[in-house]
């Protein structure tokens, strides 16, 4: 500060100097502005933009990981890598379709469950009479900040054949599966249980109809038992983050509105449906969108726990892309999978955004107005 003070000292000629500075100031800001933002642009450009361009190039080549992907020995193969994944009969397409199937079941299982769990936790923790709310909020949120690797190790132990989960189930006389090594599909199992079919000899109509390299029977397997265990783990881990978003939303709900509803004679359920839920709508949409984006990218758990097994039932596009490139040296194919996944996520989020567009904005404006009113109240109080 003292340097600043002394710099301000000389009083003479201040006016003309300020004039000059006014002009130089714009230039100086311009230089500083670019200077300040350059490191960020360089890193993002180098490790985000250029990589994408390079990978796009590689996805049209047969590069095997040796030498430069731009060397003359690398052949351009056109859209062949994409064709092998989408239109040609073969192992590549089969694996890719299996990974899409697995992840599809994973997403439609995890997203609703984690949203529901997060909302439930938020409502419980938000009860005003509750003692120790901070403690419980912390406990529920903690798994979200812990490394996925550490959590995976713990769940591998909990869900092992002789592990805590099965021990617990055996108290109720339930013979638990060997979770992470059980490839049976849930829908198949439910069908067995209901007597709809026998997984040992599946209905011929389903088994003999091939769609995109998989039989209908395989398409309708549901998530495998192994995948379900991963789903439980992920729901458990991520719900805390979304719970915080819901809590923020709930605390934003003006008490007056709820009281007015109460005066009108609405019961608890009606109040929840007609007041709380509409108020939380933007949050719910956000949580679902983030959930979909996040779940389609699932990778860590597969890398640490299952490597895509058992019987490829936990294979996901992200893991398939990684293993195609890094373990099978099919870099073109790996890059192509990554781009297809990118496009899939992009399309899904675009659809979601379009679908929720106007209503979303309206709800948000409403929330903002409510907030402003609340703020005004806070000032006058």
């Amino acid at each position: 500060m003292s340097a600043v003070d002394t710099a301000a000292e000389p009083g003479t000629g201040r006016a003309p100097r300020r004039g000059r500075r006014g002009k130089g100031e714009g230039q100086r800001q311009s230089v500083a502005g670019w200077l300040f933002v350059t490191p960020t642009l360089v890193v993002l450009g180098l490790f985000l933009v250029i990589p994408i361009v390079m990978a796009l190039w590689v996805s049209f080549t047969d590069w095997n990981g040796r030498g430069s992907p731009f060397s003359s020995r690398v052949n351009l193969v056109g859209a062949q890598n994409y064709a092998a994944l989408l239109t040609e009969q073969g192992l590549s397409r089969q694996d890719f379709m299996i990974s899409l199937r697995n992840t599809f079941y994973y997403v439609i299982g995890v997203v609703p469950l984690q949203t529901l769990l997060a909302l439930t936790l938020a409502i419980i923790v938000n009860q005003r009479f509750l003692k120790g709310r901070t403690f419980f909020r912390t406990a529920f949120y903690f798994p979200s900040v812990v490394s996925s690797v550490a959590i995976s190790l713990v769940f591998l132990f909990l869900f092992t054949g002789t592990g805590a989960v099965n021990k617990f189930l055996s108290i109720f006389g339930i013979d638990g599966p060997t979770w992470f090594s059980d490839p049976r599909g849930l829908i198949h199992l439910v069908g067995d249980w209901l007597g709809l079919w026998s997984s040992g000899s599946p209905p011929a109509a389903l088994e003999n109809t091939q769609v995109m390299s998989l039989s209908l029977w395989e398409w309708f397997s549901g998530p495998s038992v192994a995948m379900s265990a991963i789903m439980l783990q992920v729901v458990w881990t991520t719900a805390g983050t979304f719970m915080l978003m819901f809590i923020a939303g709930l605390q934003d709900l003006p008490t007056e509105v709820e009281e007015a509803a109460m005066v009108d004679g609405a019961n608890k359920w009606q109040r929840f449906r007609a007041v709380t839920l509409p108020h939380l709508r933007p949050t719910i949409l956000l949580v679902i969108t983030l959930g979909v984006i996040g779940t389609w990218q699932v990778f860590d758990q597969m890398y640490v726990m299952t490597k895509g097994g058992p019987a490829k039932t936990t294979l996901t596009p992200a893991y398939l892309s990684y293993s195609a490139a890094f373990t099978q040296n099919q870099w073109g194919q790996g890059a192509a999978i990554a781009f297809l996944l990118f496009m899939l996520i992009f399309v899904l989020t675009s659809i979601q955004r379009y679908w929720l567009r106007d209503k979303d904005v309206a709800a948000q404006r409403k929330a903002e107005r409510a907030q402003r009113r609340a703020a005004k109240r806070g000032v006058t109080a």
């Binding site: 990589p51 900040v145 978003m245």
Partner: protein, 314 residues
């Protein structure tokens, strides 16, 4: 990088949205205490809520307790009494075994990477955020739009691409490969920009008239005022780089450069000759969780703010 980290990633991309604005929500005292709503909570409801709470608390706390107790068990005890919370006999064998492996090296690597990434991120994100919030120059809006666009790219699809660049630059299998690509995150830039915009411009005006240079104004006047945002960003960066897995997988295959996530992740595939040695994997998981837990407990408030950066008020 994916799920729990997908949440890390997810939260990263979206945290950006409203960053600091929401922070008041969680620290704001509950307004209704003692109000009419409380009076209406029947005893039945209270019992139900507490019962539900108890169940969820068990589900959420028990795994960590099991982790703690199993790391002091013998393998046989761990396998035959997985639910028991008191080890019988109590042994620190798992920790001794870990000490003989590369675990200390992985820990050191994680510390080095995390410290560098966190310092770099806080500094560079703040600089860029300040530039975008306060300095006027042509092309600023374009830069901001570009950063926003970059944020939308799902991180997992960048695995192969990032390897390609690291490889071409000759950075593969070096510390810089672990650190440099993580030095900037678009979401952090966004958070800082949001916060700087909330600081009154008059403060800088005064300093500018006094002849202070732009960097000086940023460094000794504006940045100290942005302390809450800086702390939030520090914590997000710490958590992100300490837990990062996918980037470290593609940045190196040299065991000397393995970080905790990479090294410990191999325990499951019998990397330590551990196979089904559960006490060892639990102890390793415990040791890598402790730093996170300490930071989490110390800065709990900022963690919750970070998570809420993505909440509705974008």
């Amino acid at each position: 990088m994916s799920q729990p980290a997908s949440d890390a990633r997810v939260t990263q991309a979206d945290r950006a949205r409203a960053a600091i604005e929401t922070e008041t929500l969680l620290v704001r005292p509950a307004s209704g205490d003692g109000g009419s709503v409380v009076a209406r909570s029947s005893p039945m409801k209270k019992v139900a809520v507490y019962a539900a709470l108890l169940v969820f608390a068990l589900i959420y706390i028990y795994p960590f307790v099991v982790q703690l107790s199993t790391s002091f068990k013998t393998n046989q005890d761990a396998v035959s009494n997985p639910l028991a919370l008191i080890p019988d006999p109590i042994t620190t064998a798992a920790f001794h075994r870990i000490a003989q492996t590369d675990f200390p090296l992985w820990f050191m690597n994680s510390v080095i990477v995390t410290v560098c990434v966190t310092l770099g991120r806080v500094f560079l994100d703040s600089l860029a955020g300040y530039s975008l919030a306060r300095l006027k120059y042509r092309g600023r809006d374009a830069v901001f739009t570009a950063i926003l666009a970059v944020m939308a790219v799902p991180g997992i699809v960048l695995l192969i691409p990032k390897f390609l660049v690291l490889n071409s630059l000759g950075m593969y299998n070096t510390y810089s490969a672990l650190i440099v690509p993580l030095l900037v995150d678009a979401a952090g830039v966004f958070i800082m920009k949001q916060f700087f915009e909330s600081i009154p411009a008059s403060v800088e005006e005064a300093a500018r008239i006094d002849g202070a240079g732009t960097f000086r104004i940023f460094w000794s006047i504006v940045l100290p005022m942005a302390r809450p945002a800086v702390i939030t960003l520090t914590i997000l960066s710490f958590q992100g780089s300490w837990n990062e897995l996918a980037h470290f997988i593609i940045a190196t295959d040299k065991p000397a450069l393995f970080t905790l996530t990479r090294g410990v992740g191999q325990l499951t595939s019998g990397g330590l000759g551990s196979g089904k040695q559960f006490p060892i994997s639990m102890a390793a998981a415990l040791l890598m969780t402790i730093p996170t837990a300490l930071v989490f407990i110390a800065f709990q408030r900022y963690f919750t703010q970070g998570a809420n950066a993505g909440a509705e008020k974008g």
